[in-house]
């Protein structure tokens, strides 16, 4: 009974989580559409940037989601590594969050380039932030590849955690080294588009705020979906393992009698083993027990056929 209760409780919680995810998804869709509508049609063009300012409602929120995603990933990696909070759920969360993070890093780079081309006159510049973001992108692609490697869930989780840690330690080092590199040669003149010269009007501020809300909701929705998928994959693996164990046990009973029959039919004769036992002969030394060759080619193949036949 209690087991049943527990099961219903789990499935209830599952259902509730599902419903919440759907609600978040719908809200994300609505707010995204609203952001696009406000951004494209309602807000005025900027004094200096003209229509280009409309990218303001997309690019910073995407970059913000990217930071949140990696933050969540790093925190859950730490929680997994910490022995007291070690739980495969944190590993799944770290994986799901990095997947979303990589997606949004790609989007950040693309939207930034699109914005950069008309404003700075170049698609790309070796600015610390840009360079770090690009390296972050490839580093976490590697991390995701590492996560795909087969292995037991615990082994996989531990391996991924170390991989994630390596990547994360690298981020500040990359950032500061590129910053110093640049500051030695030229002042970072470009970037920081959110603040600075752009003066934000009332409707623009609201739209930007809505953009942040919309993309954060989208992040939560995607994260929840990927997390659930990862969990289902684990459940699937566990169930198929259970099945495999049962199958293997069946194989055991069938295979054993087949093997025994084959051995008793074509294997060594009992008396041979009894008489020539090395154990007994070892004392009387010198004599080497010689065995009749059961294993002529012909005999072997019959034996093999027999075993196969019995198993099938």
């Amino acid at each position: 009974m209690s087991e049943e209760n527990r099961m219903t409780a789990v499935s209830l919680r599952e259902k509730r989580a599902q419903k919440a995810t759907t609600v978040v998804g719908i809200l994300a869709a609505i707010s995204l559409v609203a952001t696009v509508w406000l951004g494209l049609f309602i807000t005025p063009p900027d004094e200096f940037m003209g229509n280009l300012v409309r990218l303001l409602y997309i690019h910073p929120p995407i970059a913000w989601v990217m930071f949140i995603a990696y933050g969540v990933s790093f925190l859950s990696t730490l929680l997994y590594l910490w022995p007291r909070t070690r739980d495969l759920r944190f590993d799944r969360l770290a994986g799901a969050s990095s997947e979303v993070g990589v997606l949004f890093t790609g989007l950040t780079l693309i939207s930034g380039s699109i914005w950069g081309r008309p404003t700075w006159g170049t698609w790309w510049t070796w600015d610390p932030l840009l360079t770090t973001t690009a390296l972050l992108f490839v580093m976490y692609l590697g991390y995701l590849a590492l996560r795909q490697l087969p292995g037991d869930p615990d082994v996989r989780a531990k391996r991924s955690a170390v991989g994630g840690l390596i990547a994360f330690i690298d981020v500040p080092i990359v950032y500061f080294s590129v910053l110093w590199w640049k500051s030695l040669h030229q002042a970072p003149t470009v970037l920081d588009p959110t603040t600075g010269k752009t003066y934000i009007h009332g409707s623009m501020a609201y739209t930007l705020l809505l953009g942040f809300v919309a993309f954060t909701l989208l992040f939560i929705y995607l994260l929840a979906k990927r997390y659930r998928l990862a969990g289902l994959k684990d459940v699937y693996e566990r169930l198929s393992l259970q099945e495999a164990i049962e199958e293997r046990k069946l194989e055991a009973t069938a295979g054993q009698s087949a093997y025994e029959n084959a051995v008793s039919a074509y294997g060594p004769k009992d008396e041979l083993v009894g008489q020539n036992s090395f154990l007994e002969k070892a004392g009387s030394e010198s004599e080497i027990p010689l065995y009749p060759s059961h294993s002529s080619q012909n005999n072997l193949s019959i034996r093999a056929q027999n075993i196969r036949g019995e198993i099938i």
């Binding site: 390296l135 490839v138 580093m139 692609l141 590697g142 590849a145 590492l146 490697l149 292995g151 082994v155 531990k158 391996r159 170390v162 991989g163 840690l165 390596i166 990547a167 330690i169 690298d170 080092i173 990359v174 500061f176 080294s177 590129v178 110093w180 590199w181 030695l184």
Partner: protein, 235 residues
């Protein structure tokens, strides 16, 4: 831990002495890379040929980029060195032997990194000579160059051995290792290049910050390797 590290290092270097794979394959690969860089970005200005007895060098761009190209060649060869270092362990399932040996994993990490360090140091001295002769690289402040090289080599071997172990359990290790290794090693490449440029230009003060970056990087990854190598080997 230190005794185990020494044993593993001795074993790896012994294998290298016997098999000479790094010497016969990895170092020549580095030379090939250096030559290819020369072909790819070397500019041959025929007008400079006319100045008889004057400067015949056609390596202007190469000379400017020599520090970067040198470190790029080292990094590319290093990944092959890492692969070799773990090919030793995966042949005949010796990796299992390492696990069964009941050696301290931290010792195994330090030993393998130490052996790789020695191999890379030899590689670097050969490639540096090539860069000096082929690219016209001139080092004004030698100690800075040496310090940067030492620290960068430590960083390369530490990260290399961690990722080598991480990837060595996978069937796709040959393709996975470079993808993991290169992005993480980016700050080492940058810092080593900038420090060496400072050494070439003769401004040790501007190189110091890079020495610090390299030192921090090395320390971080050595600590990580010592702490986490056990769980990487155990798959």
């Amino acid at each position: 831990m230190w005794r185990d590290a020494f044993l593993i290092m001795q074993k790896d270097l012994n294998i290298e002495l016997k098999s000479k794979v790094v010497f016969n394959q990895v170092i020549p690969f580095g030379l090939v890379v250096i030559l290819l860089f020369g072909l790819a970005i070397g500019k041959f200005d025929s007008s400079s040929l006319s100045t008889v007895g004057g400067n015949l060098s056609d390596a202007g761009l190469l000379k400017d980029a020599s520090a970067g190209l040198f470190w790029m060649a080292v990094t590319l060869s290093a990944v092959i060195g890492v692969q070799r270092s773990f090919a030793i362990e995966t042949q005949d399932q010796a990796r299992d032997a390492l696990r069964l040996s009941a050696l301290d994993p931290a010792g195994i990490f330090l030993g393998k990194a130490g052996a790789l360090l020695v191999e890379l140091a030899v590689l670097e001295s050969v490639l540096a000579l090539c860069a000096i002769f082929l690219f016209g690289m001139q080092i004004a402040v030698f100690w800075l160059f040496l310090a940067a090289s030492c620290l960068a080599t430590i960083a390369l071997s530490a990260v290399g051995v961690i990722y080598g172990a991480l990837a060595s359990g996978a069937r796709t290790r040959e393709t996975l290792l470079p993808l993991l290794f290169f992005p993480v090693i980016a700050p080492v490449l940058l810092s080593a290049t900038k420090a060496c440029e400072a050494a070439i230009v003769g401004q040790p003060s501007s190189g110091m910050i890079w020495i610090e970056v390299l030192a921090v990087f090395s320390l971080c990854y050595i600590a990580l390797g010592v702490a986490a190598f056990g769980s990487l080997l155990e798959e």
